[in-house]
């Protein structure tokens, strides 16, 4: 729809702009706008230190949103993110209680638990054909129940290992936080998978029309299943990083990531119906949301105001460019 309305103007623009998704451009324009507003508010807003700090905070959301994007590209959604994040963080910390082997295996074990949640989601969606929204809500509840039993029934270890702290807050490359490097690596891998592999093509294909993808001889169920497993794993990895950042795991640490991860993907121009979207857009969405949160906290906006502004901004931006076509 948007292509036809602005097509006339776009034809006269340079090629790289013409090829870009209007949604991604809008998102980047909003980032510039936010930076401008922020710099009016505080002089130090545009300093490299502050921006790098923002990028570090964004990378936790970025890792989680990467998995969410993969699932949304399929036309599904993963609402088990909150407790996948918390499970990843809590299980990684819990593993650390079991001696040196536990410490060494803490990070893989945390991710593994997230993958396990994702596999249950994947089986439900791909093989049992349960709507993803429902099965992921249910696994979210089960994961929450398991964690409540775990923390209440046994004495939990909730402090992060040194490796986790290093991943989240260390500097392997001077000046660049490790978390940013990790996000860049995961993002690069995602871009490669989406644009250069058959798996990526299939993901877009299923998002457009699963029947057609199935009829062209693809085991669509396996692809859906893998996507959910990856999403669960990345959520848990995000949780591991968060635990490293805060150097401990907490019960409701994932709650704050559900809406932002969906919003980042959708604001970045990925269609919630699946089949359309680029990772660059998700990067833009993640940065946009992190900056918005940051400005609100610099303005010392109370939690209530943040929630309101947040929801309003997301609805407003979606109304700008995320509308479904007026079919029929």
């Amino acid at each position: 729809m948007s292509e036809t309305t602005i097509g006339g103007i776009a034809r006269r623009m340079p090629k790289f702009i013409r090829r870009a998704d209007p949604a991604v451009l809008t998102a980047f324009a909003c980032i510039v706008l936010l930076l401008f507003v922020g710099s009016l508010y505080s002089r130090s807003f545009l300093s490299p230190d502050y921006l790098l700090q923002q990028l570090k905070v964004a990378s936790f959301l970025g890792v989680i949103a990467t998995g969410m994007m993969l699932v949304i590209l399929l036309g599904q959604i993963d609402l088990s993110v909150p407790w996948s994040v918390a499970t990843g963080a809590m299980m990684a910390c819990a593993a650390a209680a079991y001696g040196p082997v536990g410490v060494a295996l803490a990070i893989p074990f945390g991710i593994f638990c997230g993958v396990a949640i994702g596999v249950v989601n994947g089986i439900g969606v791909a093989y049992l054909r349960i709507p993803s929204m429902i099965i992921t809500l249910a696994t979210n509840a089960v994961a929450q129940g398991l964690m409540v039993v775990y923390t209440g029934g046994f004495s939990p270890q909730d402090s992060a290992t040194r490796a986790m702290r290093y991943l989240a807050t260390g500097f392997a490359i001077p000046g660049v936080p490790n978390a940013v490097v990790i996000w860049a690596l995961i993002g690069a891998a995602m871009v490669f998978v989406l644009t250069r592999t058959g798996f990526g093509r299939t993901v877009y294909g299923i998002g457009n029309r699963e029947r057609a993808a199935y009829l062209s001889g693809i085991d669509t169920r396996r692809v859906v299943m893998i996507a959910f497993a990856v999403s669960g794993g990345l959520s848990a990895f995000g949780g591991v990083l968060l635990a490293g950042y805060a150097s401990k795991a907490a019960q409701s640490m994932g709650d704050a990531y559900l809406l932002p991860s969906i919003a980042a993907v959708v604001l970045g121009g990925t269609s919630i119906l699946g089949g359309r979207g680029s990772y660059l857009g998700t990067v833009a969405g993640v940065i946009l949301i992190t900056l918005l949160q940051s400005i609100l906290s610099v303005m010392q906006m109370p939690e209530a105001g943040r929630q309101i502004i947040y929801g309003v901004v997301i609805v407003a931006m979606l109304l700008l460019y995320g509308r479904a076509p007026a079919s029929r």
Binding site: M133, I308, L319
Partner: protein, 326 residues
């Protein structure tokens, strides 16, 4: 024609939910130390109607093949609002009740307008509006507190003639005043039609937009009735994020247990009500069997997982593999 067969096929989900509820409640009361007394029934129904109202709200939206993930937050928001407004003399209290219900209706209407006229996906739109409603609730009650007209609260949560729980009577009244007229009206039919096949309904000239809008708006109203009742039970308002989320989640569970199809166009609010009552009773079973309360969230989660997996039985009826991908 054997009319009763069609009736049975249509009501199968509702009857099943009713059956589950009866079985669960029988197990519950027979193991309860106090047994089947008016007190136990009153407590159980007071807890159950909260979820029943929210589940009824969810049903309306689910029938149109949508979903309302903000329903728990509307419930919280109206709870917080009621803890400010539903107080004072009779007239003040009445105005307060009207204002609370109007707020719920408005919240639902906003959801409907964004989803239908803004053409956004219900999931994303209602998660975002849910954040807004929660934010407003937090503004109203940064800390738990407030009060409510206790005479009214006690009257509506007590017993009629010493036997019948008043909250159940209110639930019945709401079904008769809101659900029955809606489901029989043109708008209600339009909501069902939009849920089963929007394009076909549109082609046949059914007012699907108005029908869907009415469904969303009434969902807000029903959630507000739930919020009002929460205030009557607790005498306070509290903006607890986890509680709002839990109600959204449980409302979906209740809808599924109640035989309402998540793909839209099928099911009734009565089914969802029994689904909600059954779900609550299942949660309470842990207590009469002396389980650690710690296990309750896990238990409820597993019940939810099983309930939603039941939908997979439809796969056994699939004859052509392409029917997987409807």
């Amino acid at each position: 024609m054997k009319d009763w067969r069609y009736w049975l096929a249509e009501q199968r989900g509702t009857l099943l939910a009713f059956g589950i509820f009866i079985v669960m409640f029988t197990i519950y009361t027979s193991n309860h130390p106090a047994g089947f007394t008016a007190n136990v029934v009153q407590t159980a129904s007071n807890k159950g109607v909260l979820l029943a109202f929210v589940a009824m709200a969810q049903t309306l939206v689910v029938i149109t093949a949508g979903i309302d993930l903000s329903v728990g937050m509307i419930f919280l928001l109206t709870n917080c609002l009621a803890s400010w407004l539903v107080i004072g003399t009779g007239i003040e209290t009445a105005f307060g009740v009207v204002a609370v219900l109007g707020t719920g209706l408005l919240c639902g209407a906003i959801n409907g307008a964004i989803v239908i006229y803004g053409r956004l996906q219900p999931i994303v739109a209602t998660i975002a509006t849910g954040a807004v409603y929660f934010g407003i609730a937090l503004l109203l009650r940064p800390f738990p507190g407030g009060s409510v007209n206790e005479d009214l609260a006690d009257a509506l949560t007590g017993r009629l003639f010493g036997v019948v729980p008043a909250s159940l009577v209110v639930l019945l009244a709401v079904v008769l005043v809101v659900w029955v007229p809606f489901s029989r009206s043109v708008l209600g039919r339009a909501a069902y039609a939009a849920g089963s096949s929007e394009i076909a309904a549109y082609m046949s000239g059914v007012p699907i937009r108005r029908g869907k809008f009415a469904a969303y708006a009434l969902a807000g109203l029903l959630a507000a009735i739930g919020g009002l009742f929460l205030t009557f039970f607790t005498y306070t308002g509290e903006a607890a994020y986890a509680s709002g989320n839990a109600y959204t989640l449980f409302s979906i569970a209740a809808v599924v247990l109640g035989g309402v199809s998540l793909f839209g166009g099928k099911g009734s609010a009565l089914g969802a009500i029994f689904g909600a009552l059954a779900f609550r009773t299942i949660g309470d079973l842990l207590f009469v069997f002396d389980f650690d309360p710690l296990w309750q969230p896990l238990f409820q989660g597993i019940i939810l997982l099983i309930a939603v997996s039941l939908g997979a039985f439809a796969l056994f009826r699939v004859r052509n593999r392409l029917e997987w991908f409807l």
